[in-house]
Amino acid sequence: MSETIPAVAFYLLAFAALGGAVSMMATRNVVHATVWLLEVMLATAGIYLLLGAEFLALVQVLVYAGAVAVLTLFTVMLTLRRREDAVRPFPPAWGSLALASLFTGAVLLAIRGFCSVAPEMPAQAPGIEEFGIEMFTTWMVPFEIASLVLLVALIGAVWWTGGDDR
C-alpha cells in the first residue's frame, strides 16, 4: 500500500485533534468544552492506532474517553447549579497565554531533544504479549513508581473530602 492512505488518515486525525483542542478552548460552554476534550482523546487514540500501537489506542479509549471524560462531564454537571451557568464569560488571560506558550515551547524542545536519542522504530509494532513482558521486566520499577504517584493522589483526594470525624 502506498504512503498516501496513512498520510490522509494522519492529517484527518491530526486536524481533528488540534481542531478539537482549539474548539475546546474557544467554546464558552463548559459542557461543550468537555465534549471537545473527548473528541481530542478519541482522535489521539486514532493516531496511536495509525502507529500500530493497538493496545495503547484501546487503553486511551477505555481510560480517557470511557472513564476520564465521563468523570469530567459528571463533575462539570454536578458543579453547575443552573443550566445557564454552563455558558461562561471568556475573559482573555494574557498572562496564562504567555505561560502556556512558554510551556509548549519547553515541551517541543524536550521532544526534539528526545528524538535524537530515541532508538530506531521497529518495522512492526510489538503485540500485546511482548508489550506485557517488556512492561513487567524492563520497566517494572518505573511502572510501580507511576502507580505509587497515583496512589498518593488518591489518598490525597480521600483526605481532602474528609471523613466523618473532620
Binding site: V31, L58, L62, A65, V70, F74, M77, I128
Partner: protein, 344 residues
C-alpha cells in the same frame, strides 16, 4: 474479492445483524417478560404477535421528531450517535465461529469493552442536553453507575484472560475446547476458580446495559424514562436499539469467556468444518439463552436503590474482583504446577 469490498460487506452485515437483532429482541423481551408475569405479551399482529415489532418500527420511523425548546441542540443530536456508534463497533471483534468474524484482533476483548465504555458518555449527554430534570437525573445516575461498575467488569474478565493467556476472543474460545474427565465441557465456567468472577461479571454487565434491578437511570416509576424522556421517533429508536444490541454484546462476551463461545462439547472439531452453519448457530443460541436469563433476572427482582448499588460496587465487588485476580494467579502459576509437577 477486493479487501475494500470485503470491509463494506462486513460493515453492512453488522448493521443488518444489529437491526434484525433489535427487532427480534424487542419481540422476545415482550414475550419473555409477558410469560414471566403470566401474561401473553403481544398477540394480535400476525400469529402470536410476531409482526408487532414491524408495526412498531414503522411507528418509530413516522413519528414526529421533536426537539425540546430548552434543549442544547448540537448535543441533543450528537448524543444518540455517541450511544449508537460504539455499540455498533463492539460487534467487530465478536467471533461467531472460527472464521465468521469481522476482525481477529489480538486485543479483541479489550476492544469490545473499550467500545462499550464510551456508551455512558452518550447517555449522560442525552440526559443533560434534553434540558429536563428527569433526563439529567437519569443521565447522572447512569454515569455514576457505569463509572463504578466498569472497574469490576474489567477486573472480572482478567482471570479468564490469565487462564487463556490471550485477549483474542477467538483464541479464548479455542482454549475452552475439549472435555475434562471425559464428560465435563472444557468451558471456563466448569472451573470453580472462575465462579466468583462470573458472578461479578454478570452483575457488572447487567449494570452496563441498564437492566432491572439496576435500571435506576431510566426508572420509569420515578423518572418517566430517565435520560430518554425527551427523545422521540428514530433518535429514541437509536438509543434503545443500541441498548438491545449492548445486551446482545455483553451476553455474547459472557458466552465467549465462560461458556465456550461457538463450541459444543463432545463433538469432534471436524464437524464444524463439515457444517459451516453449526458454530454460528450454536453461538447465537447460547447468546440468546444468556439474554433470556438476563431478562429472567429483570422480571424477577425489584430495583435496588442507587446508594446500595454504589456500596456494592465500590466496597464489595472491586475488592472481590482484585482478590480473584491474585487467587487465580497463585493457583495457576504456583499451585497447579506444584501439584502436576511441572514447575519450570
Amino acid at each position: 474479492m477486493s479487501p475494500t469490498l470485503a470491509v463494506i460487506i462486513k460493515l453492512v452485515s453488522i448493521i443488518g445483524l444489529m437491526l434484525t437483532n433489535g427487532v427480534f429482541m424487542i419481540y422476545l423481551l415482550r414475550k419473555v417478560l409477558g410469560h414471566l408475569h403470566i401474561r401473553l405479551g403481544p398477540m394480535h399482529v400476525g400469529p402470536h404477535g410476531i409482526l408487532q415489532t414491524m408495526n412498531d418500527v414503522i411507528k418509530l420511523l413516522t413519528k414526529e421528531d421533536l426537539t425540546p425548546r430548552l434543549a442544547d441542540k448540537a448535543l441533543f443530536y450528537l448524543a444518540p450517535m455517541i450511544v449508537f456508534v460504539p455499540s455498533f463497533m463492539a460487534y467487530l471483534a465478536l467471533p461467531f465461529s472460527d472464521t465468521l468474524k469481522a476482525t481477529s484482533l489480538e486485543t479483541g476483548l479489550l476492544f469490545t469493552l473499550a467500545a462499550l465504555s464510551v456508551v455512558p458518555i452518550g447517555i449522560l449527554l442525552a440526559g443533560w442536553s434534553s434540558g429536563n430534570k428527569w433526563g439529567l437525573l437519569g443521565g447522572m445516575r447512569s454515569a455514576a453507575m457505569q463509572i463504578a461498575y466498569e472497574v469490576p467488569l474489567l477486573l472480572s474478565v482478567l482471570p479468564v484472560v490469565m487462564l487463556a493467556g490471550t485477549t483474542d476472543l477467538g483464541r479464548i474460545v479455542e482454549a475452552q475446547a475439549g472435555v475434562h474427565l471425559g464428560f465435563i465441557p472444557g468451558w471456563f465456567i466448569a472451573n470453580p476458580l472462575l465462579w466468583p468472577s462470573f458472578v461479578i461479571f454478570v452483575i457488572a454487565s447487567l449494570i452496563e446495559v441498564n437492566q432491572t434491578p439496576f435500571d435506576m437511570s431510566e426508572a420509569e416509576s420515578e423518572l418517566v424514562a430517565g435520560f430518554g424522556t425527551d427523545y422521540t421517533a428514530m433518535k429514541f429508536g437509536l438509543i434503545y436499539l443500541s441498548e438491545f444490541s449492548n445486551t446482545f454484546i455483553v451476553s455474547a462476551i459472557g458466552v465467549t469467556l465462560f461458556f465456550g463461545g461457538w463450541l459444543v462439547p463432545w463433538i469432534p472439531m471436524a464437524w464444524y468444518d463439515a457444517v459451516p452453519v453449526l458454530a454460528p448457530t450454536v453461538f447465537i443460541l447460547k447468546t440468546y439463552l444468556g439474554i433470556v436469563l438476563m431478562w429472567w433476572i429483570r422480571g424477577t427482582y425489584p430495583r435496588v436503590r442507587i446508594d446500595q448499588l454504589m456500596d456494592l460496587g465500590w466496597k464489595r465487588l472491586i475488592p472481590a474482583a482484585l482478590v480473584m485476580i491474585v487467587l487465580t494467579g497463585v493457583v495457576d502459576k504456583l499451585i497447579v504446577p506444584l501439584v502436576t509437577g511441572t514447575v519450570g
